[in-house]
Symmetry: C2
Subunit: 459 residues, 2 copies
Amino acid sequence: MDFKIIQSTPIFNALSSLGKEISLPDGIFYWAGRAKKEAEILGTIGAAFGFEKDFIDGGSENWVPCYLDGIKEYSSLNISNIVPYASIGGVNELRDLWKTWIIEKSGYSKSSDKDKIDFLNKNISKPIITNGVTNGIFLAASLFLNPNESIICPNKRWGNYDLIIEKRIGAKIESFQFFENNRINLEGLKDSIEKIGNFQDKVVIILNFPNNPTGYVPKIDEADALISLFKKTQEKLRKPFIIIVDDAYEPYVYENNMLTHSIFYKLQQLKQDIIPVKLDGITKELLMYGGRIGFLTIGLKPSWVPNDEELNKLKNELHNKLKGMNRSTISNCNHFYQQLTIELFKDEGIEGIIEKRDKVKNLLERRYRIINEELKKIKDPDITIDPNSGGFFLFLNLNKDKIKATEFADHLLRNYKIGVIPIQKPQEDINGIRIAYCSIDIKDIPEFTKRIEQALKDF
Amino acid sequence: MDFKIIQSTPIFNALSSLGKEISLPDGIFYWAGRAKKEAEILGTIGAAFGFEKDFIDGGSENWVPCYLDGIKEYSSLNISNIVPYASIGGVNELRDLWKTWIIEKSGYSKSSDKDKIDFLNKNISKPIITNGVTNGIFLAASLFLNPNESIICPNKRWGNYDLIIEKRIGAKIESFQFFENNRINLEGLKDSIEKIGNFQDKVVIILNFPNNPTGYVPKIDEADALISLFKKTQEKLRKPFIIIVDDAYEPYVYENNMLTHSIFYKLQQLKQDIIPVKLDGITKELLMYGGRIGFLTIGLKPSWVPNDEELNKLKNELHNKLKGMNRSTISNCNHFYQQLTIELFKDEGIEGIIEKRDKVKNLLERRYRIINEELKKIKDPDITIDPNSGGFFLFLNLNKDKIKATEFADHLLRNYKIGVIPIQKPQEDINGIRIAYCSIDIKDIPEFTKRIEQALKDF
């Protein structure tokens, strides 16, 4: 593949050296693909096939992938959805289905927002399947960051970002203080963008709403101000912005006056070279943590190409690079959970899935309300709760001059039998505990917060 | 983790900068682990849990991971083996089980080789689970190779090695001519070892028997000569040797006078700092390509540590690094196929699995014999068949001055409806076709080779 189109777009300038270099070699796939269509006898397939009767007692006359007798007992799915490889970019049916799902999740109305839906449908890439959202983060960061380049990120973030970006890739996190007066700290973000944008030939940012560990979701006006900040700084810097949108907790927003849909959609509509990369997956959205099925989807800009044909070529070039990334790290993702997701969508429909999930979401929402109410009752000048209205967690800050988070967590565990995750990063100005109310029963919450209150008094 | 033991062993000198740096941060796992043991109310778990009755109509009183109603229909496995995360290094039961399987695969007799079995059991690391064998190759190569460092590999190798090692990691492949007079070219390998060993502070080699694309397996005396070469060159160079053993096709050896067990076992017994890294998986061994479950196991040397306690500490340090690699790229591997493998071993036993797989192996063996017989009948000075006695493929070399492999494959496909994969790499002195007899029915083989013979006459 010669990557002619992508080289003419701003996305190319934002790619890491690896991103610029990587491709899926066409040799074996070209010949295997042709053979499938043209050959009478195929000697191309690198998996054992045979007539079922030749290796299974009582097997059929069908020519199938060879499998071990007994496998069928563990799943109602067809053997052809469990045994063979899924393709490198993922099962095509699931990729199409997830694109429809992404459009559904925009919240656009099928009648009044038809233009927006068409625009989205046309200009986003076909989701590539990754080994869960973590693998999507690793893939996106590898695609856009060279060692020593910087990515902008709030100080309160999932700890694994540090491991992936700093330790694994050798890039740097440009951290900004997340909150200022209980709102997102746009000044801090702006300073970071300008600092990085002045010496790096692209600006890469990762956002995560609802956020881990705080549960923060922007209010509508905060989201608008954020978008406006991106527009203004991009217009000034005139360098491509890559905004990696970690949508792991996407559906779990519990307040209506908030950004109830992923910020990906607002970013995608911008005319500027502000390129959103959406990472989502079945992990939390369909409550299938062990499935390791995530998706990476890139928002393209119509201004980059003169017509639809070139747009499709651009998509193919991008997909080729993404497949090259998969092929060279994981080959492909597991087949069972891809097929299970397809069947689930077929059997339940989008409405059915949302309805079933709402039972869990409502459960979490009730816990969210009660834990926030209970925590508000604690009148202690040494604690503050970060703004939160979604996700699985919330974050309680402790006065760093008086209470060390790890000591507090230890005290809480030893003396009050309460488990929380302390985060104590003085260089990032963080000292507090993450509370995963997603796994605390609603009836236990008052007792949980009471014990925290008592423990606080001991300090 | 302070990695005190590993730093005192030769394995540390062989690690890449990334390998030296990487670790699994203990924070979240330390606190979650303690909470599990010590807490009455857990606010640490990052997955939604609830009483089943609260989110499933007719659900039980049990406290379980929240899941979507309907999931149960697709598998007979318990929801707790499908929905939650598997741990970062893999489900412990499967890791133990696979270690037993690795010992079984050594072929050591339980009565007469008891010492060897004990030695193996004691000195190999507990297998870490990877996203298939590809991911194991990526992991091992990332752990031991910096960009621009070299790994030694035969010229005839799986094409994906090039993508992983050269494009993805930015390291180099030091290629040697695989065969000389139908035997492994030990002189070429020796030259490569000396060349690399003289300027690099370690020697890294990747071996793959049965080999893709040739099906080559060393004869017993070739294997002995190979081992002897490693011993001699390591003693001379006095630098650690890392031998990555790609055992994807391990069980498929069809001749008895060959190395019928992985070369890992012979390497593991060596006293020298020749460190074997075994990569295997359910992909081909249990015929579960779509499962993406591989294993990485490292052979340690007793001379590195004074006692068992230190050996166990060394293993823990290594496991921590390997888990850090997983955490920062894929988080963990899918749960379903790990549990399916456990159940399969429980339900069928090792003997049951081998017996079931032998039906497939016998099928492949019959094809192997016939295709080799039929190809031998073609009396054409322009072709040679590489030595082969295992795996899924064989390789037919074409006279490069007369027949270009891609042209031949195209001609074969267009005019004889036969699909094969041409490999044409002049700089590596390769010009031939890979024939995947694993997917050709035995009855079609004579026709398949007849058409190849006819096509050859056209050139």
